[in-house]
Structure formats: C-alpha cells, structure tokens
Amino acid sequence: MTQETPISDKVDRIETIVETLENGDVSLEEAEELHEEGQTLLEALQDDLDIGDGTVIEQ
C-alpha cells in the first residue's frame, strides 16, 4: 500500500490483519510481519489525517 491508498482500504487491510491474527493460524514470524505491517498502516493513517492548515482562501 502507498500513501495514496484510500483510508478505507488501509482500515480494511488492518481489520483483515486483525482477523488473521485472531484466527490463530499464523506462525510467530508471520504474526510479527503482520503486526509490523499493521503498525506501518496505522502510522500512515495518522499521517493521512494531517491534510492541511485549515486555511480559508477567499478568491
């Protein structure tokens, strides 16, 4: 996923990761990789929230 990936897609991916982890059919290595991917996506989502300065430009 990239920075341009829609927020909803990132959220969906994290929810899929959570479901995969909760199903328990993953090794420790896979769990760690999934957790790192989820953390990266969460950081990207936080970055996505900072979209501007709230400027009002009269044209």
């Binding site: 990761i17 909760e22 420790l28 501007g52």
Partner: protein, 411 residues
C-alpha cells in the same frame, strides 16, 4: 395628516413640514386599505410558493409573474378551506386584505383556497428536469463518489452570507485541518446564474480542489429558482471534480441537488462532506488497540504451543533415553550376573573338584586308616586269639592240673 409627527423632528432641518414617522405612515396605509373597497376582490389567483406550517397556521406567498403577496390561512379555517395549499400549485384564494402595521406588510387573510392546477413554474421545472433526464444527467450511474478525506474544498456561495459562515464553520467543526477556497457568487438575482456557473467552473479547473460545494441558505422558492436552471445544472453535472449541493432549508429541493454527486440539506449540513477527525482518531486508536491485542494473544498462544511442544519433546527424549539407559543397565546387569554366576560356577566347580579330591583323599586316608585299623584289629585279634589260646592252654592245663589233683585227692 403629517403634522402629528413634526414635534419629534424639531432638531433636524429637513426643509419640509411634511415629515412623519414609520408608525404614522403605516397607520395611514392601514386606513387607506381599510377604506378602499376596490381592493376587496372575490379571488386572487397566483402560484403558491414558500408554503410552510407555523403554529398550526399555513403561511405562503402567492406569486404571479414577478409579483407576490403573503397569505396566511389560520388554523381555525384550515378544515373549512377547499384544499390545503402546497408549493407549485396554482390557486385562487378568497380572503381579506390586511395590512400588518408593525412590519408595514400586506397580507391576505385567507378564508378559502381553490385548486387551479399546476403553477407556471412547476411546468418549467418539469421541462427542465425532463431535459436533464434525457441527457442522463440525473442518472445515479454517473455520480462520482466524494473523496473520503478531501484536502481542499471549493465553496461556491454568497460573500458575507450566513450560508458561507455556516458552511465553513460546519466543515471546520468536523475537520479543522481542511483548507477551503471560496468562490463568491450571487445566489439570487440577475447575476446569480452567470456567477454561480463561473464559480463552479473556476474551482473545477483548480487541481488542488478535491470537492466543490455549492450552497445557500433558505429563502422564498422564487429566489431559489436559479438552482433549477439547466445551464447551471449542466455545469455542476459535468465537472471533473465531485460536487455537493445544499440549497435552502431541509425540505427545499432543486435540480442542482439532483445533478450533483451529493446532496446535503442546508449550509449547516455541509460538514458531512468531510469525516469527523476526532471520530477517525478514535477509530484508529481502537484499531491500534485491537491490533496490539490480537498480536499479543497470537504471540502468547504461539509461545504456549511451542512450550508445550518443547515439553513434550523433552519428555519424550528423556523417557526414550531413560528407557535406553534402563535397557543398557538391565543388559549390563544380566551380563554381570551371568559373568558372576559363571565365575561362581567355575569357583564352585573348582571348589567341588577340590572338595572331591579332598574327599577322595580323605577316603583314601580312611581306607588306609581302615586298612591300618583292620590290620591293627586283625593283628590285635590275632594277638588276642593267641593270648586267648595261651590262656585257654593255661586254663586247660590248670583244669587238668586241678582235675588231676582232684583225682588224686579222691583217690
């Protein structure tokens, strides 16, 4: 009739004696209307506009061409009226002309309403809608989705209007970071159509604008009609940038609403174009917690499973090794015992042999002793017998002697 108010304006030089207050003027107008029987008509025909219920009374404007007059059907008369007036109806109203002095406004106090069919404008509205529909501009399939988080919103509205303030406030209340570019445009009047189209087109050419919002506050239906004009609707429908339109009050509908990609009810509802940042942050925090919990649970379960496997493997290994060692020990013990037994057997055999030899030797000795004894006994017996024979001879001699003596003696 103007003299009554002169004393109230003594400090001002107006170069006239005919000066009155609004109150006086309105009183005079009211008197004129009350006295003017020519103004009392059986019916007044016009189109219903801005129809609304207020405290049980029906208020509406009766419109004809560019002219309109306010009408009110009081609650106690509603059940007796032929019909209930509705927007876009052409009606004939019967009633009394009344001048409301505090506001200087004229109204018809309606006693009856008669349906005269559709209004002129409703026909125009229907024709415009038909044209837009024929061009496919009302189809849901062509509507673009709004960006889930627009960075910059282009706003087309009237400068310094309440709608502008409400829309900007609503947007920033939900998402304070979003940038807003405002294209000012008249929203009613002769310049409105051109300025609204220009505003939308200008924002559509601005690549930084993610969504275009067109809005204005409520007003008489007549003042909203520019938003039913097909040129404006076509501009809104054909933008590359997604559009959202919110015109008037909650129950106001315009064709601009229908061609836009998204409709919101009033300028205050413009905020729904953006997500609520606080809600997103809560959602992301919840996701973070859920992700961490799922990961922790997975790790704990996996480690527990690995520990169990490790314990089992250790137990199996230890058990197998112990069994091997036990078997080796048993085997070694058996070999040791066998060796010991062999050794003992050998020693026993040797001892037995030795004993046997000793026994034989003893027997030999015994035989020898026996022989010696026998010899000794034989010899002793022989000696005894010899002695006995000597004794017997002696005795016999003695007896013979005795006998001889006895015989002799007898003799």
């Amino acid at each position: 009739m103007a003299d009554a108010d002169i004393s109230q304006t003594v400090d001002v030089d107006l170069d006239s004696d005919d000066v009155v207050t609004v109150e006086t003027l309105n009183d005079e107008i009211a008197d004129l209307i009350d006295d003017q029987t020519d103004l009392n008509h059986d019916y007044v025909v016009g189109d219903v506009s801005g129809c609304r219920d207020s405290n049980g009374h029906v208020h509406f404007d009766l419109v004809s061409g560019e002219a309109s007059i306010h009408c009110v059907l009081f609650g106690f008369r509603r059940s007796r009226a032929s019909i209930e007036p509705e927007d876009e109806m052409r009606v004939a109203v019967r009633g009394d002309l009344s001048f409301y002095e505090p506001q200087g406004s004229c109204s018809i106090l309606v006693t009856d309403v008669v349906d005269m069919g559709e209004s002129d404008y409703s026909q125009i509205y229907a024709e415009n809608k038909q044209l837009l529909a024929e061009d496919g501009l009302l189809a849901d399939e062509r509507k673009q989705p709004l960006p889930e988080l627009p960075r910059t919103i282009g706003l087309v509205t009237s400068a310094d209007s309440d709608a502008r303030v409400d829309a900007v406030t609503a947007l920033h209340n939900r998402y304070p970071d979003v940038d807003i570019k405002i294209q000012h445009a008249s929203v009613q009047g002769p310049d409105a159509l051109q300025e609204l189209m220009s505003g939308v087109a200008t924002l559509d050419e601005d690549a930084s604008v993610d969504v275009i919002v067109v809005t204005r506050g409520g007003g008489a239906d007549k003042t909203l009609r520019v938003f039913n004009e097909t040129p404006l609707c076509r501009v809104i429908a054909n933008t590359d940038t997604p559009t959202a339109v919110g015109i008037g009050h909650e129950d106001d509908r315009t064709l601009a609403d229908e061609v836009a990609d998204h409709r919101f009810m009033t300028p205050t509802h413009a905020g729904e174009i953006v997500p609520e940042r606080a809600a997103l942050e809560r959602e992301f925090d919840q996701l973070s917690t859920t992700l961490y919990t799922a990961y922790q649970t997975t790790v704990v379960n996996q480690l527990s499973a690995h520990a169990t496997v490790l314990d089992n493997a250790y137990q199996s290994t230890v058990t197998a090794r112990l069994q091997e060692l036990g078997a080796s020990l048993d085997h070694a013990t058996e070999r040791h015992i066998e060796a010991e037994l062999l050794s003992l057997e050998s020693r026993l055999e040797t001892a037995y042999q030795t004993l046997q030899q000793e026994k034989e030797h003893e027997e030999e000795l015994e035989e020898t002793v026996e022989e010696v004894r026998d010899e000794a006994e034989t010899e002793a017996q022989a000696q005894i017998e010899a002695t006995q024979r000597r004794y017997r001879l002696v005795i016999a001699g003695l007896v013979l002697l005795v006998l001889t003596l006895a015989a002799l003696y007898l003799l």
